[in-house]
């Protein structure tokens, strides 16, 4: 009992000492606050996002900073958890008193975090939120960078229609972004005359897709479109092979574009279509330097998350230069007006702050490489069509 008591008093003392040293850091430069999912479900794309931000910080500082001061990112880990992000943005804004805020990774986290920035009238440049409903809440200080979820698989539907395909099955993870992607795909497919023969959502964390895929197999659709994040995209692809499900085209929203997708699946990933906000071979200004600098800084290739984070940061910096101030209302006025092309592509928003100019691309895994196959204007090659049945690969 004596030990127990001593450990209690010890702990309490430690807490008191720690609490005493609990003071915010002072800023000598412009600080830019953001929470990023460094752990948890979104850790992988979250890391890419952070790398994009940090490269942007370096590039801006190398060019002399903004309005005469250097910038510095203050990043916390939100554990891929929206309520944690709320607390972190409260901390960033009221405690660390950051000068600017940028968005976290993913729609659910941005959805939550933006309520805080809006409350404090801090302008949030959301770099990686693609869900339309986030911009239907009437927020004034929230700006979008990437194309909305609804058009992620526009390319897949387009290519399918071109080839006279008639039926599509849609599945999605039951979360904000994936649901919107599936909904958008269904609407696009219907509009273009395709028949949606199947749609079902599965809970986040599902690992066994047998029942879902068996149902789809019985309907034998021409196309399977999956509103996925990374892990479920990998699992469905593998299990399609195991259950011998053979659509003529199969595309996934997120996950299919990451190098790890191929690394994990190997040859099983061949012929799979993946949508992407960005590819490093696209003809955007400054993209070559970006790719070189990125590889130098992080020792790996950038993916679209990195580019979107960087591009959002570029747009934000441009707005600050034009406004000559960090005042949210002035920045807002500029961001509503700006039309520009960053390394990430086009930027232009409507009166809600909703992205209207940026274009998606669709790629296909061919011989261990991602080949952009849509839209025609930027494509690097022809899609390999139709996807051969698993037994003949």
């Amino acid at each position: 009992m004596r030990t127990a008591f001593r450990s209690v008093t010890g702990l309490v003392t430690a807490l008191v000492i720690l609490a005493g040293s609990w003071t915010p850091a002072l800023a000598q430069e412009w600080t830019v606050g953001a929470s990023i999912s460094l752990t948890g479900t979104y850790a992988k794309p979250g890391k890419y996002t952070q790398e994009g931000y940090l490269l942007c910080e370096k590039d801006i500082n190398d060019k002399g900073g903004l309005l005469g001061r250097k910038i510095r990112f203050v990043v916390y880990d939100d554990k891929s958890d929206p309520p944690t992000a709320i607390k972190l943005y409260e901390k960033l804004i009221t405690e660390d008193k950051v000068d600017l805020v940028m968005g976290p990774y993913s729609s659910p986290v941005t959805n939550a975090a933006s309520t805080v920035s809006e409350k404090y009238k801090k302008l949030m440049m959301a770099s990686l939120a693609a869900t339309t409903s986030i911009w239907e809440r009437g927020f004034k200080y929230l700006f979008m960078t990437i194309s909305p979820a609804e058009v992620y698989l526009e390319g897949l539907v387009d290519l399918a229609v071109e080839r006279g395909l008639k039926t599509v099955a849609v599945i999605n993870e039951d979360t904000l972004f994936s649901k919107a992607a599936a909904k958008g795909t269904i609407e696009l497919a219907k509009k273009k005359g395709m028949q949606v023969v199947f749609h079902e959502a599965y809970p986040k964390g599902t690992t066994d897709f047998s029942a879902l895929l068996i149902k789809i197999k019985s309907l034998n659709p021409d196309v399977i479109a999956a509103g996925s994040y990374f892990d479920d995209a990998v699992a469905t692809t593998r299990q399609m092979k195991e259950l011998d499900v053979n659509p003529k085209m199969y595309g996934v929203t997120v996950g299919g574009d990451l190098p790890e997708f191929y690394k994990l699946l190997g040859k099983t990933a061949e012929y799979v279509y993946g949508s992407s906000q960005w590819e490093k071979g696209l003809p955007y200004p400054g993209i070559k330097e970006f790719v070189t600098n990125y590889e130098k800084m992080w020792n790996r290739e950038p993916v679209y998350h990195s580019a979107a984070a960087y591009g959002a940061c570029q747009v934000y910096a441009e707005a600050i230069k034009r406004a000559g101030s960090l005042d949210s209302d002035k920045l807002r006025a500029e961001l509503l007006k700006i039309k520009m092309k960053t390394i990430f592509g086009d930027y232009q928003v409507d009166e809600r702050g909703f992205q209207v100019a940026h274009k998606m691309v669709l790629h296909q895994w061919q011989d261990a490489k991602k080949v952009t196959v849509w839209p025609a204007a930027v494509s690097e090659g022809k899609p390999l069509y139709p996807t051969p049945p698993w037994q003949r690969r």
């Binding site: 850790a43 029942a211 892990d231 259950l243």
Partner: protein, 292 residues
């Protein structure tokens, strides 16, 4: 949207897939059931031990190219040792305590290990691309990795039963789980039996992990889903009833498969729970009988 017509072959396919999954549940749950039977400890860390088994196989496969099924001869002993160490250091202190202590203790151990694993190996999803694809039998696709894993799981479960029934230690484990005090009076060193049981349970979880790794992604939190499934299995089969755990596993696999065929993936979880509550209330000793 056209409706899915459930045909005989789909049903058969789902029954097969369900049983294949169920064999694995049975193996994993047997480990949990042993620990619960002997010590009345609900080991919430069981899924984390499974994760460690999966990583053992993953690293052996990635670094040395060792066949994942052969790697069982490493993962099981490794996890046995991990289990013995956990028992010796922590779990033995809560064996006689109210269930809250053991629930929380093993949960604490679980998130500790899972997060250390995350630090050591990152949260990245990894996979053991060893066997992919399937054998086609008419309209039925038999997934190669799942089929082989199922067979291995059955084999290991069989070996565990042989051990429990034929060896002196195995008999002592069963005696302890039937009546701890009487076993002690009869000269069984229950502390030692506890140690062996926890090691064995952990070893079985590790084996489950090795087998899971050839089917699904390997990552630090991969074990969580198996914990609740294992609870279900031991409730269905009857706590401390070891053959019950086996049939409970197969039953759970079937129920899950069929529920997600006739309903949706989301509702299959609800069905499994309703089954759990009904069994608990109507036959608290499990469908096959067991201790209360």
């Amino acid at each position: 949207m056209t409706t899915v017509h459930i045909t005989g072959s789909m049903l058969l396919q789902l029954v097969v897939s369900g049983l294949l999954a169920g064999g694995l549940y049975a193996l994993v749950a047997l480990g949990l059931s042993l620990i619960f039977g002997v010590m009345r400890v609900i080991n919430v860390a069981h899924g984390t031990l499974l994760m460690l088994g999966a990583y053992t196989t993953y690293w052996l496969f990635t670094l040395t190219g060792l066949n994942p099924f052969v790697s069982l001869v490493v993962s099981m002993p490794v996890l046995f040792v991990v289990g013995v160490v956990l028992q010796r250091l922590f779990v033995h202190r809560v064996v006689e305590a109210p269930e809250l202590s053991s629930l929380l203790l093993t949960f604490g151990i679980s998130i500790f290990i899972a997060n250390v694993a995350m630090l050591a190996w990152s949260a990245d999803y990894r996979s053991v691309e060893f066997l992919t694809g399937s054998f086609l039998l008419g309209p039925i696709a038999l997934s190669k990795p799942r089929l082989v894993s199922f067979v291995v799981a059955l084999g290991l479960t069989g070996l565990a039963f042989l051990f429990l029934h034929r060896t002196k230690t195995g008999k002592a484990i069963r005696a302890t789980s039937q009546h701890r005090d009487v076993a002690q009076v009869c000269g069984i060193n229950v502390r030692r039996i506890d140690l062996i049981t926890f090691g064995l349970g952990a070893g079985l979880a590790g084996a489950g992990g090795s087998l899971v790794s050839v089917m699904f992604a390997v990552y630090p939190e991969m074990g969580q889903v198996y914990v609740f499934k294992s609870f279900l299995v031991i409730v269905l089969g009857g706590a401390g009833n070891y053959p019950g755990a086996f049939f409970g596993g197969l039953l759970l696999g079937l129920v899950e498969g069929l529920a997600s065929l006739f309903l949706t993936a989301q509702l299959s979880e609800v069905i499994a729970y309703v089954l759990l509550v009904i069994v608990l209330l109507v036959r608290p000793t499990g469908l096959l009988g067991g201790r209360t």
